[in-house]
Structures are given as C-alpha cells and as structure tokens.
Symmetry: C2
Subunit: 146 residues, 2 copies
C-alpha cells in the first residue's frame, strides 16, 4: 500500500469510530489486535471503545496530524469533550477538557494489528487544577500544528 492509501484507510477507521459503527470495526481491526503490548483481540478492542463512549458521551476523534509509512501510521488525535466521572484516574466529573493522544498503529494487511498509545494526562491535570472559574477558551491548549 502507498502512504496515501494507508492514510485514507485510517481515516475510514476514524469515521467508523465516530459513527460508533461497531459492526464494521472488524473491517479495520485485526482479530488478534494488541494495545500497548497487551493482546486484547477485536472483542476487547470493541469493549474498550464502547466503554470510552459510555464514559465520554460527547467523544469525537479528530485527526490533528497524520504520518503514514506502511505498514505504520502515526496519528495525533485531538479531543475536546466532557468525560463523566473519573477519567484516567482524574476526577473530571463533566468538566470540558481538551487533550491529545499520540498513537502509533502497525497494520497487518489492511487491518490494525498493534497499537501504541499515549494520552496527555498531564494536560488534563493542568486544566483541572486551573479550577472552575476559568473560561473555555483558556482551558483549550493548542492541540494541532499552527
């Protein structure tokens, strides 16, 4: 696959997530997928995503930066959302937070087989520590290239 084809395939996967089209997930994700070194398989991957959307009802995946060199894709995902309750061990409780996830994927054929993800927890902590009086425009850090 060429880099542009792999990028297009990846953007289809992101659209699938945003549509919560779980029946289609297996078109993009390998049955034997691993996440951060743990083999969770397709069913575990789907469980993880469904839980994310339960805990963050307004969850939306936005690709801020995309780098493709087959068989790998690296993506910087930008989130602006209101996680309910605890998120990453932090008491977010519905507050609007903006944060990034820098994530690598290895494809096997046309499907995601390995995922290496890091979420910017420190950015969320900083926004929670800023307290309740801060304005929305202030709590939104720059997530994307200028």
């Amino acid at each position: 696959m060429r880099p542009t084809d792999l990028s297009a395939l990846y953007l289809e996967y992101i659209a699938c997530l945003n549509q919560q089209d779980w029946a289609a997930l297996g078109r993009f994700v390998d049955d034997e997928v691993s996440h951060n070194g743990r083999r969770i398989e397709l069913v575990g991957y789907r469980d993880m995503l469904e839980r994310d959307f339960r805990e963050i009802p307004d969850l939306h995946f936005s690709v801020a930066l995309l780098v493709a060199e087959p068989p790998h894709v690296a993506s910087r995902l930008a989130f602006v959302c209101r996680p309910q309750g605890t998120f990453l061990g932090l008491p977010v409780n519905g507050k609007r937070v903006a944060f990034a996830e820098n994530v690598f994927y290895e494809f096997r054929g046309r499907k995601i087989w390995q995922v290496w993800s890091v979420i910017d927890k420190a950015a969320i902590e900083a926004q929670l520590q800023a307290g309740p009086r801060i304005h929305d425009d202030v709590v939104t850090p720059r997530l994307a290239p200028e």
Copy 2:
C-alpha cells in the same frame, strides 16, 4: 527528501542528544522551533534538553518505532532511567522507571521546526504506586513492538 533520508537525519539528531553534543544541536533544530505549540527557539530547546540531562543523569534516547512521511517524523521513544527528585510532578527520587514518549516532528528544510510530544506519565505513576518491593523486570512495561 525521501522517507529513508528523513529517518536517517532523525537518527543523527538522536545520536546528537545522546552525546549531549549541544554545539551541534543547531544542525538539526530550527532557530524558531516550537514545542507543544510554544515557540521556545533553539536556545530554549537546548535549555530544556540540558535540564532533562541534569534531572536524569542516566537519560538515554532509544527509538522504538519510527515513521517518516516528509516533512513529518513520528517517533516512539523508550526510556529506562532513574530521574532524581521530582519528574513530571511525580516523586520519582532515583527509582528506576520505564516509560515511552510518542512524539511528532515537522521539519522545515533539514531542521526540526515543530514538536508535539506526549510522555506516558500514567505508566510512571503505576510504577511508583507498585511500591519499593517490586523487581526491576516487573516494573519494565513493554515499550516496543513485539
């Protein structure tokens, strides 16, 4: 530049960091470099790296995964080191920790111009919470592709 040329250039940059060859840093980093949306310029970038090596005397950059699509590079960096004192706001105090940094770079010409970095703070927290009795082989999470 082809992806392979950009990867080779990036690995020269990493070797420069590991040698702490600050006089050569300007060969790889643009005078107007920004880090996570903040324009810190070459002098601020060098200050940041010198501080990292002061706080983590055994700091060593290892590239676990490298994805190049000019003008971008995405790199998963794996660290195993003993930060002295506080690191990312955590009381590490010389304990051996293993963690990853997923980082994107945009090159302008042959130099790094924009950096978007996320460090896996949650992994370090988990290792600190595991307490002092844990063995070294247990505290080392899988950082690299299998």
